[in-house]
């Protein structure tokens, strides 16, 4: 479980983990302060017979500063979080690096279909490889994926890559990832898509260049000369 909390199977997973860490520190600090003050006040100001509560309107200047200072400091924290969040977002979702290979990912009730380029590394040619529920990619390669759906909403999610994107019927959404570790990872569907939503899982296999070439060769449709 600990590995899952910090796993970084893709190039940007670490950025997302760091962002989460920053938010944890900044907002965790406030959470602790608020809880500590709350409990301290509860223990400190218990009712004692004969002792009256103080009369504080909270509208005088020196009282209001207890509101204004946290207000400004939280604003600062917010700005910091916004800046980091948008930087990560921009990097992951908005500004796609040049693709080294492009694949199609198609969601349907309740399976994932993948179309990968064959040896020519061009999508839409005869040697394309089509698989169901198993995606093979090469490590350290920038992939673009074209995400589609044929029926309802699905969501292409690779938790270990910190990658997630909805698939929408009628639309093609382009995203990217760059695997940094070899191995087998879960691909899940993260959008309610009917009674099979809970079984809509597939595998992502990240291979070294040689392994991947071998896999491509052995899966190229028969009768297609790879050129």
């Amino acid at each position: 479980m600990i590995e899952l909390l910090s796993s970084n199977g893709s190039s940007f997973a670490g950025d997302i983990n760091n962002l989460i860490l920053i938010i944890t520190v900044l907002s965790g600090f406030w959470l602790l302060v608020a809880e500590a003050v709350l409990f301290w006040l509860i223990f400190k100001f218990r009712r004692v017979p004969g002792v009256r509560a103080q009369y504080i309107t909270g509208e005088r200047k020196e009282e209001m500063k207890w509101i204004h200072w946290p207000h400004n400091l939280i604003l600062v924290c917010d700005v910091v979080i916004i800046v980091f969040a948008i930087r990560v977002w921009y990097h992951v979702k908005q500004d796609l690096p040049e693709a080294q290979s492009t694949i199609r990912v198609i969601g349907q009730q309740w399976a994932w279909r993948y179309v990968m380029p064959g040896a020519d590394n061009i999508l839409g040619t005869k040697d394309d490889i089509e698989t169901v529920d198993e995606l093979h990619v090469k490590v350290d390669t920038v992939y673009h994926f074209k995400l589609e759906s044929v029926d309802v909403l699905h969501d292409f999610s690779v938790p270990q890559f910190r990658l997630k994107q909805d698939a929408i019927p009628g639309r093609i959404v382009t995203g990217w990832f760059k695997p940094t570790k070899t191995g087998t990872f879960d691909i899940q569907c993260a959008e309610m898509c009917g009674i099979g939503h809970g079984i809509m899982m597939s595998k992502l296999v990240v291979e070294t260049a040689e392994e991947h070439d071998k896999w491509v060769a052995s899966h190229t449709p028969a009768g297609v000369a790879s050129n």
Partner: protein
């Protein structure tokens, strides 16, 4: 001047039928909403028990239910979410407390439109029947999540619940209509029917909050009502509003839904904050710290809440540039809410805190809601939401907001106003047992789920053993822990129900009008208040939180007490 209202009604003895089944009295209508809401809450809690058992012990027979199929699982969570929000949280927080408290606290004898009020409950009641019918029809209840995203929700060939999804949608629309009618009543009553002398700053916070919540609801629900009509036509007669092949757009529904959906979470949040304000001021004998700041932050929250909705859709395929704007607005909304919470905490400073059960629940609300609020910041940061979206982290976030709001704050309110409502006290010892059981149980349910979520558990999955990464025992142990805590929490609710119903009939009689020595006007009426509420219509001379005023012998100063 203020006339006696009671005598007027004496010559008209009301039958049981008129008094309890078709009442016009705001208090009875409030009670109808309360008890219907509690019943629906029990149903929602039962659903959560069933599907949590399935998650902890997949594929085994769940006691009191049986085997859970994936279709049933989906329907259970969908209707759990829908019921808990629309038929439990809203009816109790907005309608029950709103109806019961607003006229009493502003010194009126009833709502301004009693008949519209009754109509509101009747429509609400029909919506309950329609919703329950939706579970019983052929192929079972709707299972497309409470967000009902099309195309799944729009076509029976996808969701496989031809009737369940239609009835579900009709029930939700009826519920909306009921709350629009109720809301108009709350708003006009507060605006127009306050007691003589009650200025804007003398209105108790809870009344402000419920009315502002009604306004938020009214301003945000419109597009979704239109959208619901569109979806209903998609389901029933085959239009293509949300069908991309025919030019429609599934994303449009998401916008319609969340444009409503986000303000909606503040629709339930604000009344809970209102209840807590009344309870903590009374039991710490303190003036509310900076009343005006509370109002300003509430207004700010209300306005900002219309600018953040797309944070639910960050990765749903909206344009990534749009997400940046919504990240900014979402994070900004943490400021007014933090300020509001800090003001409440500051109110305790220098107080004379008495830890009654109501006070414990109110403080428990503050302590736990903070966790829910702070985890919202993780989700509002678009970059982090890429990972967290639709995981149990989101789920734990919103249960850490909803349960404090709809369960804990509601308990605070019920323990606090019980003597007024029923003229008897609830048992404090049982109350404290209930408090600790609920708090420990609730934290035990959802604290582990933050971790399973952060480890990658996705929502709405009926059996994790299909996912190798998630089928590991360390995660399964946390899931089981959560489930055990659900059972514990639910068992402790029996303490509450015993206490509640026993005290209603046999509890210690509350002979005083004002047992907690509070200031607001409802404590000036008899317990329980008769039809017409007040023997003499009260006048107001000061704000609602004048506790421990220097130079007075008593440490409270009722709003209606002359000088």
């Amino acid at each position: 001047m203020a006339t006696s209202h009671a005598e007027h009604h004496d010559h008209h003895e009301m039958s049981f039928w008129e008094k309890y089944i078709f009442p016009l009295d705001h208090k009875v209508i409030g009670m109808q909403y309360l008890f219907t809401g509690i019943l629906m809450g029990v149903l929602g809690a039962y659903f959560s028990y069933v599907f949590r058992m399935q998650l902890a012990f997949p594929g085994t027979e769940v006691p009191l239910f049986g085997l859970v199929t994936s279709a049933q699982y989906n329907s259970l969570i969908t209707n759990h979410g829908t019921i808990m929000i629309f038929w439990f949280a809203m009816p109790i927080l907005v309608a029950a407390f709103g109806n019961y408290l607003i006229p009493l606290m502003i010194g009126a004898d009833d709502m301004v439109f009693p008949r519209i009020n009754r109509l509101s409950y009747q429509i609400f009641f029909i919506s309950v029947l329609v919703l329950i019918a939706s579970f019983l029809v052929h192929n079972g209840g709707f299972g497309g999540a409470w967000t009902a995203y099309p195309p799944l929700s729009a076509k029976a060939e996808y969701n496989l619940t031809p009737w369940g999804s239609i009835l579900w949608l009709v029930a939700v629309v009826l519920e909306f209509v009921a709350f629009l009618l109720g809301g108009i009543n709350f708003i006009t009553t507060l605006m127009n029917s306050r007691a003589r002398g009650m200025k804007m700053n003398d209105i108790p916070i809870v009344c402000w909050m419920i009315v502002l919540a009604s306004i938020l609801f009214m301003a945000s629900a419109g597009p979704l009502i239109a959208g619901a009509a569109m979806l209903l036509f998609d389901q029933t007669i085959g239009t293509g509003f949300f069908d991309p092949a025919r030019g429609g757009d599934p994303i449009l529904w998401q916008h319609l839904f969340w444009f409503f959906g986000h303000p909606e979470v503040y629709v339930v949040f604000l009344p809970a904050m209102g209840i807590v304000a009344e309870v903590i001021t009374t039991f710490s004998r303190k003036k509310l710290f900076a009343y005006k700041v509370v109002l300003f932050t509430t207004f700010a929250t209300g306005i900002l809440s219309f600018f953040v909705w797309a944070h639910h859709q960050f990765i749903a395929g909206i344009d990534p540039r749009l997400a940046n704007i919504f990240t900014v607005t979402t994070l900004l909304i943490s400021i007014p809410i933090a300020e509001m919470l800090f003001v409440y905490i500051a109110t305790l400073y220098g107080g004379a805190i008495e830890l009654t059960t109501a006070m414990l629940f109110a403080l428990g609300f503050l302590a736990t809601f903070l966790i829910g609020g702070v985890t919202g910041v993780f989700l509002g940061a678009s970059g982090a939401d890429i990972y967290f979206h639709d995981t149990y982290f989101v789920l734990a976030h919103f249960h850490y907001t909803f349960v404090p709001i709809a369960v804990i704050a509601v308990f605070a309110g019920l323990y606090y106003w019980f003597p007024k409502m029923f003229g008897r006290f609830m048992n404090e010892t049982l109350g404290k047992i209930h408090f600790w059981g609920t708090m420990i149980g609730f934290n035990g349910i959802f604290m582990p789920l933050f971790f399973t979520g952060a480890a990658g558990d996705h929502r709405r999955i009926f059996d994790y053993s299909n996912f190798p990464e998630l089928a590991v025992s360390s995660l399964q142990n946390l899931r089981t822990l959560a489930t055990i805590c659900v059972v514990i929490t639910i068992l402790f609710q029996f303490v509450f129900f015993w206490n509640f119903f026993y005290s209603m009939f046999k509890g210690k009689v509350c002979t005083e009008k004002n047992p907690w020595k509070a200031n607001t006007l409802e404590w000036f009426a008899a317990s329980p208040p008769p039809h017409g509420n007040f023997p003499v219509m009260p006048e107001v001379y000061r704000g609602p939180y004048e506790f421990s005023t220097p130079g007075r012998e008593l440490d409270y100063w009722p709003q209606n007490e002359k000088a």
